[in-house]
């Protein structure tokens, strides 16, 4: 069977759904960040697959590289903030970080 664009799109769709599920269901902040990485990588797969199979230009590859870089920057900041949270709360459980009243 020839692997084509559709297969990549299905993989990326599954990754996106898993990432969304992780973000919505996990309480541990690090797991939420991992779910986020899955979403970004799903987008990367889309970009590269479209660029490769859609007969399109190099834009998709460049976009994927940018997304990788920004994901790293964002993860660095997010983890620094998590460390700070840990110093104050002694845990990183998102449901219990709710001192600001609704």
């Amino acid at each position: 069977m020839e692997i084509g664009l559709n297969h990549y799109l299905i993989v990326s769709g599954i990754l996106f759904s898993l990432g969304m599920f992780g973000i919505l269901s996990r309480k541990h902040a690090v797991m939420v960040l991992m779910g986020l990485e899955l979403i970004l990588n799903a987008a990367n797969i889309n970009f590269v697959a479209f660029a490769r199979y859609g007969g399109m230009n190099i834009d998709g590859h460049i976009a994927a590289i940018f997304v990788i870089i920004l994901a790293a920057a964002e993860a660095a900041v997010a983890l620094a903030i998590l460390l700070n949270i840990y110093q104050h709360f002694k845990h990183v459980n998102l449901d219990e970080v709710n001192n600001l009243k609704e």
Binding site: F50, G60, L100
Partner: protein, 502 residues
């Protein structure tokens, strides 16, 4: 293949057009060095930032009348972007000045260099956002400004609530920008390009399927809606506004919202209207999907939820957070119209909103520093404890409600009339009803200041003359622009040119 000589000429021209942004980067580096070299002076990076912003303003003013694209269509310089950039720049300058007088920042941190640097970085991101006409540049700019603002929100890291606010901000922000980039990837697959005007051209052919287009559009909208804190992406707003240092709250509520609206309008205007008649905002290329209605519903939800929840807030920062959600709702009404009148009304509103909201936040900051409270009930007797601050806050809150003779009235008048002119009477009616609701919670503060606790034995509130001068100047300007508004209107009306970047 691109011809190499024409490419280099384009690049050289682009570098000239990119001067304001280049200045910001230079300012950023200068701030780092100044902070390293001059250790005695705590605010040296702030002074460098102010000087840099002033130079940026000069270069920005020189771009008046230029309408062209730079860097092979990545970036456009047009009057719309210029107006948004001016709003961003003025509000950032004011926020830097506010920061000089903030006890909150001094209390917890010995060093403030990084604080000012991150503000410069954030302004750079917002400048890029105001002019980007390529989806990847939009994503990059949003992340540049977001990452800086995540750190700034938690800058007073000894404060527990600032830490919590930054956590909520980073989680919500990262998820919504992740969803946005997935939407961008789908739109890229549908049209084969990332350039906004080429996407527009691809949509004009009419072969793009409408269901994936709707999904991609909604996903991208979620990224923008998060930045402008529209319902249902508003959950971070009250917590972040309450937890962040007041100066940063002020910056987020004005500058980052202006940048968000700038990119939202540019995206929809360039991508979804037909190229023949761009001034009318006809949403020509969306096929069977009624984006008009979608945005109108979003606007109604945003302003109603913002106003109704603001009614029972006890913390003034939280109250202003919900009020800023409501203001985003009024502006979204105009965005849904998308024609030239609506765009200029958004610009007018932003200029006015900048003055009144920054003024209100400066008073919140002063009261929090000197009286140690952010509770609305503790504003009782404030009109007697410091009469000038009481008068200024009254003017600013009346302006936020949108009553004459303040500038807020002019802003609302233009937004509502743009909506009515487009034939959406029911939408304008809901907007006016919402303004009436908002009067209740703004007036509650005024009532507390003058009618409660009149015989108070509380001490007078001493405020440094510079801060008092700033507060009075902002309050006076809201009155001045409420009475003599034609320069502002003319400037906004001449700033509706939105280029597509080719």
């Amino acid at each position: 293949m691109i011809d190499i000589t024409s490419f280099t000429t384009d690049l050289l021209n682009s570098v000239k057009l990119f001067l304001p942004e280049t200045t910001l980067v230079v300012t950023f580096l200068a701030a780092i060095f100044a902070d390293l070299l001059v250790r005695r002076q705590k605010h040296i990076a702030g002074y460098v930032a102010l000087a840099g912003f002033a130079v940026t303003a000069v270069f920005l003013a020189q771009q008046t009348g230029i309408g062209t694209s730079a860097f092979s269509g990545l970036f456009v310089i047009d009057s719309f972007g210029q107006f948004i950039r001016f709003v961003i720049l003025i509000s950032s300058m004011l926020v830097v000045i506010f920061s000089f007088f903030s006890d909150e920042l001094h209390h917890s941190n010995t060093k403030l260099g990084e604080y000012y640097m991150l503000i410069i970085g954030m302004v750079f991101g917002m400048f890029l956002l105001a002019g980007s006409s390529n989806l990847i540049l939009i994503y990059l700019a949003i992340e540049t400004m977001s990452i800086s603002s995540y750190i700034l929100t938690g800058y007073t890291k000894e404060a527990k609530r600032a830490t919590e606010a930054s956590l909520k901000y980073v989680i919500f922000g990262a998820v919504s920008s992740g969803v946005m980039i997935y939407g961008i990837s789908i739109l890229f697959g549908l049209t084969g390009t990332l350039n906004l005007s080429e996407i527009n051209a691809a949509l004009a052919v009419g072969t793009v399927e409408s269901v994936p287009l709707l999904i991609a559009g909604l996903m991208i909208l979620s990224g923008f809606a998060y930045k402008i804190s529209a319902v249902p992406f508003h959950f971070w707003t009250p917590d972040v506004y309450e937890g962040a240092p007041v100066t940063i709250t002020a910056l987020l509520s004005v500058a980052s919202k202006a940048a968000g609206f700038g990119v939202l309008i540019r995206f929809f205007r360039v991508v979804f209207t037909s190229g023949n008649d761009p001034g009318t905002g006809d949403w020509a290329l969306v096929g069977s999907i009624d984006w008009h209605m979608e945005l109108a519903v979003l606007a109604v939800l945003t302003m109603s939820i913002g106003n109704l929840v603001a009614l029972w807030q006890t913390n003034i920062k939280r109250m202003l957070a919900y009020s800023s959600i409501a203001h985003a709702g009024y502006l979204l009404m105009a965005v849904a119209m998308l024609n030239d009148t609506a765009v200029s009304s958004v610009l007018i509103y932003f200029f006015v909103y900048m003055l009144m909201n920054l003024g209100a936040f400066l008073i919140v900051q002063v009261v929090a520093d000197k009286a140690g409270t952010e509770n609305i009930d503790d504003y009782s007797g404030m009109g007697y404890r410091n009469p000038l601050i009481g008068v200024a806050l009254t003017i600013l809150l009346i302006s936020l409600t949108g009553l004459p003779p303040t500038a807020g009235f002019i802003g609302k008048l233009y937004v509502f009339s743009a909506v009515v002119n487009a034939g959406w009477l029911w939408l304008a009616a809901i907007g006016v009803l919402n303004s009436v609701v908002s009067l209740y919670y703004y007036a509650k503060v005024i009532r507390n200041m003058y009618l409660r606790d009149v015989e108070s034995k509380k001490s007078k509130l001493a405020v440094s003359p510079v801060v008092l001068g700033l507060i009075l100047a902002l309050a006076a300007l809201t009155i001045v622009f409420g009475l003599y508004f034609s320069p502002m209107i003319n400037w906004a009306n001449s700033s509706v040119q939105i280029l597509s970047g080719f």
